[in-house]
């Protein structure tokens, strides 16, 4: 008798779960740096995700979306831990993330072992992620760190007249990629990079490095982000530094420009480049800024969205609209869904985005300069729009490959690459 009740219960449970299956929620894993030195960046990424969810009313192709958040701390092993948790334990269908460069490489490698899951990058920007042995199920709707530098090298050489530059950057893949992109264009324009300083990610005391910076260069390129950037600026101010500065993408975005304190003032007038410009008058961009400002109270957001919010917003939008195209059908091992993703052309707030053969974004880049807006906030003022930037930055792919993977001394500073 007991046995009978037990098996009946099991049958009923099985029946119930299959009923539940029809209206099953769509599980999406969300990876972002919500711990450590890049916490603010991850928080803004999550804001972008929330805006997208709000616009889609939490539904894609009639299925309710359930987001499972997995925090990381910008280290590759934390990203792998987080992504394994959402994939193997929570059994998500789609992963959106991660945020930081080396995390992206680690997640790409992990993606190869999980062909049943589709991965869409959050905003991580190391070149290797999609350029060297890419994973078939990993999509990136943001440009990489080198593409984000498009336009800057020739601008600072020709317009600003900086003939020699020293660089300082955090010692990891994303900043390698950024310096790579800057150097490629700057050196071809005729500039010289005299020295490259690399500091560990998470360096808090830059005083000695600031003292070691050369005085006989026209400008110093800063490839830092998050807390490191703020610390550098603070100590640079205290040391009385007055060199011309050039900013990497995350050096001059809202995460640093809206930090508390006066160190950020040093950045006024600094030229930089990245996938967005705060003052762009494009209606799509203005609409997104408005949506961002309306969605969160002023103390819970930046005055204007940082590139992480935009990146995650775009990634989520791409996923939802591809799901809509295939009517939420993932039953064929994501095959149709992935084709739809690949064909996606996003009319994103920061310009049109399409994917290349490596599932890597081709998009629009912006050269900017830091300025004060009428409310006294520091913003990135638009200088120049560079459309259709692809991963090889307009260089022939065969030659581009020969330059090598971005690294501490790659690329060499040359007038021409061939």
């Amino acid at each position: 008798m007991k046995k009978w009740i037990f098996s009946a219960a099991i049958v009923m449970m099985a029946a119930l779960t299959s009923v539940a299956h029809a209206a099953e929620k769509l599980k999406i894993g969300f990876l972002a740096t919500l711990e450590g030195t890049y916490t603010v960046l991850g928080e803004d990424g999550f804001r972008g995700m929330q805006i997208a969810l709000k616009e889609w009313k939490n539904m894609a192709a009639g299925r309710e979306i359930e987001v499972i958040i997995a925090p990381t701390d910008a280290s590759p092993d934390s990203a792998v831990r987080a992504v394994r948790k959402v994939v193997e334990q929570d059994k998500v269908d789609i992963v959106i993330g991660p945020l930081s460069g080396s995390e992206g490489i680690a997640v790409k490698n992990y993606a190869k072992t999980q062909p049943q899951v589709t991965f869409v990058n959050g905003i991580s920007g190391a070149q290797e992620t999609t350029f060297v042995e890419p994973a078939d199920n990993f999509y990136r709707f943001n440009m990489d760190g080198a593409q984000w530098m498009a336009g800057l090298g020739s601008y600072v050489f020709n317009e600003k007249g900086y003939k020699t530059v020293a660089t300082i950057g955090e010692d990891y893949s994303f900043i390698y990629t950024q310096v790579y992109g800057f150097a490629l264009e700057y050196c071809q324009a005729g500039g010289q990079i005299t020295e490259r300083f690399w500091v560990p990610l998470g360096t808090k005391d830059f005083a000695s490095i600031i003292a070691a910076l050369p005085e006989d260069v026209d400008a110093i390129y800063l490839g830092l982000g998050g807390g490191d950037a703020v610390n550098f600026l603070n100590q640079y101010l205290q040391a009385g530094g007055e060199a011309n500065l050039i900013g990497g993408t995350i050096m001059v975005d809202q995460t640093v420009l809206s930090s508390k304190g006066k160190a950020k003032e040093v950045l006024a007038g600094t030229p930089a480049a990245g996938p967005q410009a705060d003052t762009w008058d494009d209606p799509n961009w203005q609409k997104f800024v408005k949506a961002y400002q309306d969605a969160f109270p002023p103390e819970k957001r930046f005055p204007s969205p940082a590139l992480m919010a935009v990146g995650y917003y775009n990634a989520a939008n791409a996923v939802f609209s591809a799901l809509e195209t295939v009517k939420g059908d993932l039953s064929d091992g994501h095959k149709k869904f992935r084709e739809a993703l690949k064909a996606t052309v996003l009319d994103a707030p920061n310009g049109k985005i399409s994917l290349d053969a490596n599932r890597q974004a081709i998009g629009t880049n912006f050269v900017t300069e830091v300025a004060k807006d009428d409310k006294g906030n520091l913003v990135n003022k638009l200088v120049k729009v560079v459309p259709n930037v692809n991963q090889t930055m307009g260089i022939d792919p065969a030659i581009f490959k020969k330059i090598g993977v971005p690294g501490r001394e790659v690329p060499k500073c040359q007038k021409a690459y061939n």
Partner: protein
Amino acid sequence: MSRFIERHPAWTFVFFVLAILLLLLVFAVWPPGLVAVMGKKKIFLNALLNGITLGALYFLVASGFTLIFGLMRNVNLAHGSLYLLGGYVGYAAVELTGVWFLGFVAAFIIVAIIGVVLQVVVFRRMEGEDLRQTLVTIGISIVLADLMLWYWGGDFYQILTPDWLSGPVVTPIISVLKRSTGDPIYIKYPTVRLVILAASIVIGVGMWLLLNKTRIGMLIRAGVDDRDMLAANGVNVQLIFVVVFAFGAGLAGVAGVVGGTFQSLAPGEDIRYLLASLVVVIVGGMGSIPGAALGAVIIGLAEQFGSVYMPTYSVVGTFLIMVLVLAFRPQGLLSMR
């Protein structure tokens, strides 16, 4: 000192020569040969001064940690959270009043009060139970970190310095002679760091005087040596525990304001400073104030020289020192036990 000279004449000579060499390196104008080997004098000198000032900050954090450990055998793994909390409290106070100095007062008082609460409510209940204390303090540090993230968010905070402290000061140390005229160019150095260094030395000396020249210091030292015997003598040991815990916590709070002034405050700093003070205390010797000072300066110097002369491996340097100390003098450089 004189006993040391009598007992180790050879070592004394070596130290003497090293000290003269260091003074020469600091004050003399470097010949071109030396510049070729070691880089510019400016870089060396900045690394030296920065290492010492960073050491001063580490000392402030680690001295409270080591004091609490020395007396109560209590490894307080929430010490880093007290540091970060002190920084935030100091920031709020400076924003409110506009007076930099008040940041230190507010941080010391409020974090000291939290220290008292921790000691009375939590640690008194689990005296002598090392494992429980360790686990509970880890728990408290996680809870505090999340509470701070909730209240202050993930932004980066810097505590504003008064105008007379921002910017550099010209030191009387010559960097190089101008090639054209032969005029000396002097080293510029951030004022705020020099002030912090001076303040740390004052606090360090003050603590040494308190421990060695006052009655309460005598009681604390007696407690460190033999707690039970002190209690048997009719001294209220629990009260001393509370006072020491409050003081140690308060120092962590003050260090938070210092850190927020020349670095920045953000989530994650708590763990970083907990780790730094653990390394400092392991190198210097658990429970010893002079040990904390020595360990802090060694670690600070290692970090700064590492960051200039071998940037990629600067993190390794710190831990290499810890490994060497643990291998050859596991009780720490200046530990009595």
